[in-house]
């Protein structure tokens, strides 16, 4: 099938490739950009592990084709910490509150929480549960994750 040229800014770095239309944004990030922090769990939009920000909006990168992200700004989990490697408040809070166990779902949670706290800096417990209901943690460590969102909100206040 006819391939398409795409230009995508990923974590502030311009990237460019020619892609098959069926290549998802998630696979573009992992395989073409070498950014394997974005994880793929279900590959059909159920688990939320592949959540990234596109033009600031949190979305599932397995449900968007790379051609659709042409000209967009993408932020992945690799772009959340500061350049010297210091963890962002969301990441530091997840570590402090034991908000991760095996870590597979963590990149998706980091991106969802980052968008959630940007739009609602002081969420209630209920708002956190609602906001994170689209991310699955199969270690089921949700309590620690919810505590981490409250902690990150405090750190950012």
């Amino acid at each position: 099938m006819h391939e398409w040229p795409v230009k995508v800014s990923v974590n502030g770095q311009p990237t460019e490739a020619t892609v098959e239309p069926r290549l998802t944004l998630a696979d573009y990030l992992r395989e073409r950009c070498g950014l394997t922090g974005t994880h793929l769990g279900c590959e059909h939009g159920a688990c939320g592990a592949c959540t990234v920000l596109v033009d600031g909006q949190a979305l599932r990168s397995c449900l968007m084709f790379a051609v659709q992200a042409d000209g967009c700004e993408v932020t992945t989990v690799e772009g959340v910490a500061s350049e010297d490697g210091e963890l962002a408040p969301v990441q530091a809070a997840l570590r402090e509150c034991h908000g991760l166990q095996c870590g597979f779902c963590t990149p998706g949670f980091v991106m969802s929480i980052t968008a959630l706290l940007r739009d609602n800096p002081t969420p209630s417990d209920e708002e956190i549960r609602e906001g994170l209901s689209g991310n699955f943690c199969r270690c089921t460590g949700y309590q620690g994750i919810i505590n981490a969102v409250h902690r990150a909100a405090e750190m950012q206040a």
Partner: protein, 291 residues
């Protein structure tokens, strides 16, 4: 899994998109937000040789009030609809329905037109379109036509549009002053497809009689449906004489293809559906009575 190969088209305008659909016929499908289509492609439940991406056509995005209706462009994302003040003021049933659609990370991409055209029986906006008597605007090489919501949903994931037609906008009529609206749905987990649900709109006259009622049902058939027997039974009666249980019971009384699956039998869904209608009726009439 990964989707099978397809050719991708990104038209800049509706007439270009329609021309592509006319050219490829049944071998083409419209891609908008992709939140239903892409999972189906990834699981290889369906395949199209050509996808026509309409998500960047500017004329398909936007919300405006005209001729006493809220007109929403088909490619407007759910997140825009849910946050829009004009929608909250003039078609609040949409605002109430939005949080039930998937999760916020789905609502940033999913579009109102996509959800309605996909015609899933559990689609919240489809039930709202039925309850409010919305009009669908469809464009084809033959021109533009309006399709009433009542005639739009023809079967499971099937609508009344031809293969070369695109849903460009949906007009939701603004109901009168003494109106009330409510959405209730039940799902095993928040964000899942509803086992059953209801969107209820009710309008009262000066004498607190029901002058208009629309009931959209979710998950109770092969398409989004209306609770017509209940609507017919309540119009003209004093709202105080009508019990919520009666409305719930009547709303589901004419259903004859309630789905049964691992989440529940048809009888169970019917019972949940009646309860959702009853609860939504209580909220909507309380709001209309105090309006």
């Amino acid at each position: 899994m990964k989707a099978a190969a397809f050719a991708y088209h990104r038209p800049d305008a509706v007439d270009e998109a329609v021309a592509l659909l006319a050219e490829y016929g049944d071998d083409a499908k419209v891609l908008a937000g992709g939140q239903s289509l892409v999972p189906m492609l990834a699981m290889r439940l369906t395949h199209f040789d050509n996808l026509v991406d309409i998500s960047r056509i500017g004329e398909l995005v936007g919300i405006d009030l005209r001729d006493n209706a809220v007109r929403i462009g088909a490619a407007t994302p759910h997140s825009f609809v849910g946050m829009d003040d004009e929608v909250a003021e003039s078609a609040p049933l949409l605002t109430l329905a939005t949080p039930y659609i998937g999760h916020f990370q789905i609502r940033t991409r999913g579009t109102l037109g996509g959800a309605i055209a996909h015609a899933d029986p559990a689609a919240e906006y489809a039930a709202v379109a039925l309850a409010l008597d919305a009009q669908m605007e469809a464009v084809s090489p033959r021109g533009t036509r309006d399709i009433p919501a009542n005639e739009f949903f023809t079967g499971l994931w099937e609508n009344a549009m031809a293969s070369d037609e695109i849903l460009t906008a949906v007009r939701f009529p603004v109901w009168g002053a003494r109106s009330g609206f409510a959405v209730e749905e039940f799902a095993r987990r928040h964000g899942d497809f509803a086992i059953a649900g209801a969107a209820v709109a009710v309008q009262l006259d000066e004498g607190a009689r029901v002058s208009r009622c629309g009931i959209g049902l979710l998950g109770l058939g092969s398409t989004p449906l209306r609770g017509s027997p209940a609507e017919d039974a309540v119009v003209g009666r004093a709202v105080g004489d009508i019990t919520a249980d009666e409305v719930g019971r009547l709303a589901i009384s004419a259903l004859n293809e309630i789905p049964a699956d691992l989440q529940g039998s048809a009888a169970y869904r019917a019972k949940v559906g009646a309860t959702m209608v009853a609860r939504a009726w209580e909220s909507a009439t309380a709001e209309a009575s105090n309006a």
